[in-house]
Symmetry: C2
Subunit: 332 residues, 2 copies
DNA sequence: ACTATAGCTGAAAGCGCTTTCAGCCATTTG
DNA sequence: CAAATGGCTGAAAGCGCTTTCAGCTATAGT
């Protein structure tokens, strides 16, 4: 079994350089190419990535960072759908991937990634305002694609949706169904998406001439935070007839709190979420939400990074994916 | 900013070899060492992994394969807890990790991994009998640690629990609480763990003088399969007072089917699961199950692989982790 | 016929690191 | 005091690959 280019070269009677050209698509005569290919085939040769990387400066491996903040876990439907999407696209393009989950501090993770020194690029999903990890990565000369972070500065590449517009739309939908007292349970504090969703919410109320003051209560994208926030709202005696939750998880938590309080959905309270994760349509009643194809975002992020690697000079890629208002039973 | 060993060597007035020794712990005089360390510190030097790998034959990166079969997704609590555990240990040891999720055929995945050619070792979680991926990996000269697969041949390293004994124990527990008509919804067909759990179930019944004939119905570790199997059981008119489910997910599905049929747990039917995933204690009633520290299995798998890499000659590592019968409300 | 041109090919120079190997010096030992 | 020992160190040889560069052979152009 041939192990190195030299072995292949000897076996096919050409030079190492020619074998390399066959493998990497250089100009080689058809006959020579075929001969070499045959040898490669029969010897089941696999190039040594490290050597290749060292010689060419490319590794074919990209990093994926999911620095999931504390209350969230990567078992979370959002992250798992995203990761699956990224993974699919990457595998399709025969690109390897290294994963960093958020089990370290951002600084350590950053060090770790940069120290790796063999990544061609990185996809980051840390959705935090002023994130040291994002900043550090951007400061390095590694090509980076951000998932979320639409508001990052001019020369950042990202894949995102317009959280603000979508939140405006779904809030407007709640208003259109006749709801007057609408509350918003926010996403994780300091998250870019959470901030933008709250902004959209406020904007919709303002446009409808409603007062947003005090109608925004804190959550953190978890089921628990939705449950707690809703419970607190109910106990505080506040009257409300609609809840726009930071995401579907939060909405699921809200469902539980409302059920415990004997409030019906959508009879007493309409509920809306964000994301349209797999479970959203399975809830009872099915959840009205904003569909942002999470898997598709992952796909797109991978494609974007790969295209960035193809042509590093061509400037940042800024991809804004469409969202869709999905009206279901929880607001009907 | 120094980029290479040669730069460091020049800056600290020693040879490249000495700098390398400082970094890798060779014998160097204290003064020289300190001088070099200072330079490393101030220049923020990071060794090039590819070069290191090429020269030493080691990369510091291990592969993690989670070839999750069709109905399961890696968002599944089991896989995510496992992955988190592996990830933690690996990061602790400053080992990198590359992840392969099961989005390709086993053959493609195998090819992909072997083609990578730069992994020091692999952790595989494909829990299938006669798995081509496992076989192919084992046939390569990569050190491999299997998660599950306790019954693999003599020279395989694995981390697993005794599914058979644990299933026997929990079934015996059900019998001890006075249940007579116990059914088992199996795990995924062709899964090593599923098979062993069914064997343990049968053994317990046999020991108690009960007939297992027809008491084993097929599932696949998903919530849905638990739901469907239970529903079918109920509709078939079979009388049963206990259900031992292949895992906690299956049990969760069974809960739903039982609830829909108006059957109470544990009043009408006692239910037991396997795994003790995070949600098991949150169910209503809390689920009686077998705790196999899934996170701990992940930790151990990583540790085992790392120790295998330390000393490749020392033969296979065979780790059997303890399980614990966790009796909760669903069988009280 | 003679120079351009194009198409292939091989030699050789690294990529940045690890790891023998031999050599140096300062101690110990007989 | 000579010889042996042991601790450090630098030179140099790769690890397996990519990529210039120059050279070679046909073919085309004049």
């Amino acid at each position: 079994m041939a192990r190195t280019l030299d072995d292949l070269a000897a076996l096919s009677g050409v030079s190492r350089a020619t074998v390399s050209r066959v493998i990497n698509g250089g100009s080689v005569s058809p006959e020579t190419r075929q001969r070499v290919l045959d040898v490669i085939e029969t010897t089941n040769y696999r190039p040594n990535l490290a050597a290749r990387n060292l010689a060419s400066g490319r590794s074919g491996v990209v990093g994926v960072v999911m620095h999931v903040a504390a209350p969230l876990t990567f078992a979370d439907a959002y992250f798992s759908q995203l990761l699956t999407g990224i993974c699919d696209s990457l595998t399709e393009q025969a690109a390897g991937m290294m994963l960093w989950l958020g089990n370290r501090t951002k600084e350590e993770t950053l060090d770790n990634i940069l120290g790796m020194g063999m990544l061609d690029g990185v996809i980051v999903t840390a959705d935090t305002i002023d994130d040291p990890l994002v900043d550090g990565l951007r400061a390095s000369d590694l090509p980076v694609v951000l998932v979320g972070h639409r508001r990052a500065d001019r020369d950042a590449s990202y894949v995102d949706v317009d959280h603000e517009a979508a939140s405006d739309a779904i809030t407007t939908h709640l208003i259109a169904t006749g709801r007057k007292q609408i509350y918003h349970i926010t996403g994780r504090p300091n998250s870019v998406s959470g901030r933008d969703r709250a902004i959209g919410f406020r904007r919709a109320l303002r446009k409808a001439g409603l007062d947003a003051e005090g109608h925004v209560v804190p959550g953190d994208y978890t089921d628990e935070s939705g449950y707690e926030a809703t419970k607190k709202l109910i106990e505080s005696g506040v009257v409300f007839d609609a809840l726009f939750c930071g995401n579907d998880n939060t909405a699921r938590g809200a469902y539980q709190a409302l059920a415990e309080a004997g409030l019906s959905i959508p009879g007493d309270v309409a509920v809306a979420g964000f994301d349209d994760l797999e479970f959203a349509s399975q809830l009872d009643p099915p959840l009205t939400t904003v569909r942002q194809g999470v898997g598709e975002i992952g796909h797109e992020a991978a494609r974007t990074l790969l295209s960035l690697l193809e042509n590093r000079e061509s400037g940042p890629r800024r991809v804004l994916l469409p969202t869709e208002l999905v009206v279901r039973g929880s607001s009907a």
